[in-house]
């Protein structure tokens, strides 16, 4: 093979290759400049759990342990307690509430079984996904970290189809 042929061949290969590359330059970018830009998460995304409260601000959880029973990785620990106060003063919606509610994110596999199991719609998956910590012990989140009234929501996500969703890839559909 002559050198000329080689130059032509390789040039063609480069042009062929670059044409693919260059053809993407005018197209819309998929890369998100996280953390400068927020990430779009789908509505059914399974992030860090949220423990919900009712309209009076009482915890919905009645410590029935069904989430703990359903959990395949046994990462939920609950201690129930009795709250004899009047309904409006209670911590939770019922006499029975979770005194301790811990989720060990070192073990959690975000399967969503706990959410499925919950008879009171007290636990759901939120969208917080930035769970990395410097100390392994910090992966254990307590009730105060999980309650919807107390959990700090990250600025770094947007939920697809929500009001603040600007660039959902499925929006046009």
């Amino acid at each position: 093979m002559s050198i000329i042929t080689e130059v032509i061949e390789s040039t063609r290969a480069i042009i062929q290759g670059m044409s693919v590359t260059l053809s993407y330059i005018p197209k819309r970018k998929q890369t998100v400049q996280y953390p400068e830009e927020p990430v779009t998460v789908q509505p059914r995304y399974r992030g860090q759990h949220l423990l919900h409260v009712d309209e009076l601000g009482r915890e919905k959880c009645v410590a029935c342990f069904l989430c703990a029973a359903a959990c395949p990785s046994e990462c939920i620990y609950i201690e129930a307690a009795d709250d004899p106060r009047a309904p409006e003063e209670r911590t939770g919606v019922d006499e029975r509430y979770a005194k301790i509610y811990n989720i060990d994110y070192g073990r959690c596999i975000f399967c969503g079984y706990c959410v499925e199991a919950c008879p009171k719609d007290a636990i759901t998956h939120g969208y917080n996904f930035e769970l990395s910590v410097y100390n392994r012990a910090d992966l254990l989140k307590r009730k105060d970290d999980l309650l919807i009234t107390k959990q700090v929501q990250s600025k770094n996500y947007r939920v697809a189809f929500s009001d603040e969703d600007v660039d959902s890839e499925w929006k046009e559909v």
């Binding site: 029935c64 342990f65 069904l66 307690a81 009795d82 004899p84 006499e95 029975r96």
Partner: protein, 757 residues
């Protein structure tokens, strides 16, 4: 039940069943599933839940299988579309007004309604109307009540009536408004909690363990009760290192006590994880000083040095070893071995309220088991008060009278509640129980006995006549009032009243969980009072496992001792004198055995790890022995201790832990049966003692309050806040809606983690 067999066809299969068998039982035994709520084998028929409907040929409607007695040629269908529809509809009716609040219900997970709903519930609920709401409330400090969950199977009311004879709860109102409750809304009963146990739903709940755990996260351990000598089998539910609750075992297992427990067994367990438990070994380095926490090594070494010093200076017998009837056989054996083989002292005693030694030495017949009592034809009870001190025995007596038609003869100075069941109540003067033994021995001293007891001589004649006319079992029971001679006379009764078709069984009403075992393992039967009297005189050091009983405390010579070692759970009056205190493990934390008043050797099983730094009693003694140069060789195995007991103590021969595995069929200790012997000496002794009694003592005419012994605060029950309420007379709280514990504070000292400010 006769042995005659009849043929029953169930679902086209033929079965030969005993005549008189109940259809529901026959079906269940042959693996045909019949759902039911109200049927309970040990209770009167109710037939109200209508779940057990079956089709019987030649009968017009579906029949409740719980009410049908099998007859020859009966053709039964238990599975068909019609039956399924009927059962599903009954469950639909039951769930109509049920709140379906399983997530908050303590019964969730072990609820019979839940289980049957899985089997027979419909996919959809057709009931779209408003449910009849009823508020949750408390019936007593022990019993929480959620009437809306009730399915009115009335097991609770039947248990209360038939087992306990109290009729404390009953149904009120009518129709759909029927509620289970009590007059005035507050339960003033013996608080046995058996209504809670038998409730198939979450209507009656354990008020002390409310909303604290779910059944499936509890590890269930079968063990033996640590309170009275009945030795009820119970299931300890623990989570992690915490004992959460105690329930009886499943009713379909034919055990000693079925589903029966009393207040102490069921609710008296919070001492196990109580914050006042002794956490580390404690040493009082100088008399009058404080008890200072120490390490195990240091405490053992310190004790060994001290004991060595005293024994070297004052001789072996200057040391006394005192056991407790609350300890396991293993612990008592190690103590005895410690006394005999390590320090070689003769001074070994068990701190029991009274000794049954004379009784067991003259034992003329077998001990009556609780089954025997239930099926006895005549029961004679001298002294004692089983309703308060041995509740299971009392229940068996009641059922024997009520269901078995037994005759109960009561000889008591107090008109105890059992007299309502008694065919004959011989109301004697206080302190004249021995005269009853005299009367049982023969009619020679009737005049004397009757005069001293303050009864008609004819009554004694009737008593003897009833016994000697009985066909079947006669059970003779007696409490701690009898003297040594009287015990011997009663122990020989099987010979006195021997006759065709009659078995005389004996049942001593010992007080503590292992009183009988402690006696079996005792060497020379010294009394603890004698040892205490010798304190400071010939005895200068004492090694004590468990504390002294309150009745031993007043003349207590503990302060005169040079050195006192105590193994205890809590700091008590006894530990106040101690120089060294070892933290002992409670019954929930150890393996071992108790021997009950039937002579059954029953396992105690470890439910949780010993709390803090405590150790099993027998292990503490073994470690001390090792420090003193004698290795018992048990390593850490309680079963090795028991094997040695079985090898050394004849009555326990051939017993091993694996043989004790089946708690439904407990094994009886083989107590030596003494042959018939001449009782003239004993009778003369009793006669002398009786003759010295006064002729005009005043009889007690008042029936004691329910719970006068049951609710008494002891070292262990003191740790249960609810017991304080009961001991204070179970006052009716201002509101039934909230746990009375939150409403009333009897004592500043009651601390409870969950008490809400």
């Amino acid at each position: 039940m006769s042995t005659e067999l009849v043929k029953v066809t169930i679902n086209a299969k033929d079965f030969q069943v005993p005549k008189g068998a109940r259809l529901i039982d026959v079906c269940r035994e042959n693996q045909f599933d019949i759902p039911s709520f109200c049927y309970y084998a040990d209770l009167a028929l109710q037939a109200s839940c209508r779940m057990c409907l079956v089709r019987i040929e030649k009968m017009p409607k579906l029949q409740t299988s719980c009410t049908i007695i099998c007859t020859d040629g009966m053709v039964v269908t238990t599975q068909s579309e019609e039956i399924e529809k009927a059962r599903r509809s009954m469950l639909e009716f039951l769930l109509a007004n049920h709140p379906l609040d399983c997530p908050v219900c303590d019964r969730g997970g072990e609820c019979e309604l839940q289980e049957l709903t899985f089997d027979w519930g419909n996919l959809e609920e057709r009931f779209i109307e408003q449910k009849n709401a009823r508020a949750e409330k408390y019936l007593s400090p022990m019993v929480a009540n959620d009437p809306q969950r009730c399915i009115l199977c009335k097991r609770c009311t039947r248990v209360c009536d038939e087992w306990m004879g109290e009729d404390a709860i009953e149904a009120g109102n009518r129709g759909a408004n029927t509620v289970i409750g009590t007059y005035g809304g507050w339960l003033n009963c013996s608080q046995c909690g058996n209504c809670i146990e038998v409730c198939p739903t979450g209507t009656l709940l354990d008020g002390t363990y409310r909303h604290q755990a779910r059944p499936w996260e509890l590890t269930q351990t079968i063990s033996t009760c640590t309170y009275c000598s009945d030795g009820c089998q119970m299931s300890l539910g623990s989570r992690g290192d915490e004992l959460m609750r105690i329930v009886a075992r499943d009713r379909y297992v034919n055990g000693l006590n079925g589903e029966f427990l009393c207040i102490k067994g069921r609710f008296g367990h919070p001492f196990v994880n109580h914050e006042e438990r002794i956490r580390t070994p404690l040493i009082r380095y100088q008399k009058g000083g404080r008890l200072v926490p120490a390490t195990w090594d240091e405490a053992i070494r310190f004790t060994a040095q001290k004991l060595d010093g005293i024994v070297a200076a004052r001789g072996n017998n200057s040391l006394a070893v005192v056991g407790s009837p609350r300890l396991t056989n293993e612990a008592l054996y190690c103590l005895r071995k410690f006394a005999a083989e390590v320090v070689e002292t003769e001074n070994y005693a068990v701190a029991d309220a009274f000794s049954l030694k004379p009784f067991f030495e003259s034992l003329g017949g077998p001990l009556a088991t609780h089954q025997d009592i239930r099926h006895a034809k005549t029961i004679v009870l001298i002294g004692g008060e089983p309703e308060e001190l041995q509740p299971l025995t009392a229940k068996q007596i009641r059922q024997a009278v009520r269901n078995g038609g037994a005759k109960l003869i009561l000889i008591n100075s107090v008109p105890i509640r059992l007299r309502e069941q008694a065919a004959q109540f011989i109301h004697i003067r206080p302190g004249t129980e021995n005269a009853a033994a005299l009367a049982l021995a023969g009619n020679a001293d009737d005049a004397l006995a009757a005069r001293k007891m303050g009864v008609e001589a004819a009554e004694l004649e009737i008593l003897r006549q009833t016994i000697s006319e009985t066909q079947g079992d006669v059970v003779l029971m007696f409490g701690g009032e009898l003297s040594a001679e009287a015990q011997a006379v009663v122990a020989q009764m099987p010979y006195t009243f021997a006759g065709e078709g009659r078995r005389i069984l004996l049942h001593p009403l010992a007080l503590f969980n292992n009183s009988v075992g402690a006696l079996d393992l005792d060497v020379n039967g010294k009394s603890v009072s004698d040892l205490l009297d010798a304190a400071g005189v010939s005895i200068h050091a004492m090694y004590m496992a468990g504390s002294l009983l309150p009745e031993h405390m007043p003349k207590c010579g503990l302060s005169k001792l040079d050195f006192l070692v105590v193994q205890e759970l809590f700091e008590t009056e006894t530990t106040a004198f101690a120089d060294v205190v070892f933290p002992a493990a409670s019954f929930a934390e150890i393996d071992g055995t108790f021997t009950n008043n039937d002579g059954f050797v029953q396992r105690v099983r470890k439910s949780i790890e010993p709390v803090h730094q405590s150790k099993p009693d027998w292990l503490i003694v073994s470690e001390l022995a090792k420090e003193l140069g004698v290795d018992f060789g048990f390593e850490r195995s309680a079963s090795a201790v028991f094997r040695e007991i079985a090898e050394r103590i004849p009555a326990y021969a051939d017993l091993r832990y694996p043989l004790l595995k089946d708690e439904s069929h407990p094994l009886q200790v083989k107590h030596a049966i003494a042959s018939k012997r001449e009782l003239a000496k004993e009778i003369a002794g009793i006669r002398r003692a009786v003759a010295e009694l006064s002729d005009d003592g005043v009889k007690v005419s008042e029936t004691p309050q329910v719970g006068h012994e049951l609710f008494k605060l002891g070292t262990l029950t003191d740790k249960v806040p609810q017991f304080h309420l009961l001991a204070a007379g179970n006052p009716t709280p201002a509101s039934f809606a909230i746990s009375p514990l939150y409403q009333i504070t009897i004592d500043e000292g009651i601390k409870r983690e969950k008490a809400v400010a």
